[in-house]
Subunit: 242 residues, 2 copies
DNA sequence: CAGTGGTCTAGACCACTTG
DNA sequence: AAGTGGTCTAGACCACTGG
């Protein structure tokens, strides 16, 4: 029995693009030829070519800017699920340029869930800091931190677009940190998250939750992170899929 | 300032389809009009209509069969991350018809990771059972169970397309179960997984790992599950995204 | 301004199922 | 055989960018 599947032009186009990048040694952020040029080069319609480009964008291998062009992405970042660390330290170790934008700061009353995580009574004042982490000009993570506002009142006066949260806690309060357990899940980007991360609404995104402990074991910070899934890949040693 | 965005036909088409389903009270698995008919009804091109359909398929609201038609999906299933349970019990309680297909059974030697989870020595014989769970005719989960093959040798002789794993363990070995902690992550479907789950390769899927304990606290089973993300939604009470 | 990606159209052929 | 979804084409207009 001869199972000779016809190769679809769109699949061929995906290979042509990947091949083009390799053969021309295009580095990250290099520009591809225009869509119309690639159509002419390979004798396919723009619809078909765009389908291939969309697939590669979904896989995190390309990105595009309107009026400008289509570009090669930087390789996917790899985080290890066994040995999870904060994005800032992860990025620093990997030698990336990390920018931070403060999305929002506010003071909230401690809810039941948060009181369990932070060992604080219900209604206790919490300082909430929501930051957008931008790696190599690309927004990657929304980190929302929750801390004891009554114990660390100086937090409310800081400008976290300049200062690092951990630096402030270390300098002002002499705290040292140990990261507690983290959990990873999957959700879908809300309108606000999609806007901040520059992805489409309803895109699947990672949803991480973790507690940061002081070196004495006291819970200091509860963090929720929403992470783009096209730029990050979480690996797990346990994952030995057949 | 008047921000009057032009409504794109594709977005309008998404609304038209959703509206059509509501106004005609279409139940789950009802057939929509053919693509060509909907194009005529709403005066749009097939490309645009198909874009809208693809979006609704991604969101889990529609599914389609070649040569047959496009259909309304059953509503998304909701699993609670705080109170996670096995799919079989989850499905049974919700009143769904659950089928099981045995993908593979094998005997493997215990690896380092598995030995930690199951408290067994390295190289110990493990019975591996990989099953496809099909809910209402729709493949939903691939569950891969790992158990002590030396302690439960009768497992190797069973026909798990007919018998339930838990029933066998309970009847043959008098075991009672308590579910341990589960972890949820996100990965991308491999070719085999995509084929079994009937989704496209590289689709984002949930990846769950959990340990099932006996009522005495002994680890009995280690399960890895790959779950379709378009049909299941994991909720978390903790998730209070701003 | 010219060029780019983003969107849309009308029409065609294919493999598949049987509404 | 007729109808369906899946795929592909050629060509058009738009908003945005500064290759």
């Amino acid at each position: 029995m001869e199972t000779s599947y016809r190769i679809r032009p769109r699949d061929r186009a995906v290979e042509m693009i990947e091949c083009f990048i390799l053969q021309n040694h295009l580095p990250a952020h290099a520009r591809l030829p225009s869509e119309r040029d690639m159509c002419d080069m390979w004798g396919i319609s723009r619809t078909t070519l765009r389908f291939a480009i969309q697939r590669l964008i979904c896989e995190g291998k390309l990105y595009s800017k309107v009026g400008s062009g289509t570009f090669v992405s930087a390789p996917k970042l790899l985080c290890n699920l066994q040995d999870l660390k904060s994005f800032s330290s992860f990025a620093r170790e990997a030698g990336y340029r990390l920018e931070t934008r403060v999305v929002r700061t506010q003071v909230l009353e401690c809810t039941k869930q948060l009181s369990q995580k932070l060992h604080l009574p219900l209604g206790h004042k919490l300082f909430v800091l929501c930051r957008l982490r931008i790696l190599e000009k690309e927004p990657l993570v929304i980190e929302t931190s929750h801390l004891d506002a009554e114990k660390y009142p100086l937090l409310l006066e800081q400008d976290f677009s300049r200062a690092s949260l951990y630096e402030v806690l270390e300098k002002e309060y002499g705290l040292q940190f140990v990261r507690g357990q983290e959990k990873v899940g999957l959700t879908y980007a809300t309108a606000e998250e999609a806007d901040l991360l520059r992805v489409k609404e309803q895109t699947p995104v990672f949803f991480l939750r973790s507690v940061v402990l002081s070196s004495e074991g006291t819970p200091i910070e509860y963090v929720k992170s929403v992470v783009r899934s096209d730029r990050i890949r979480y690996a797990s040693i346990l994952k030995q899929k057949a």
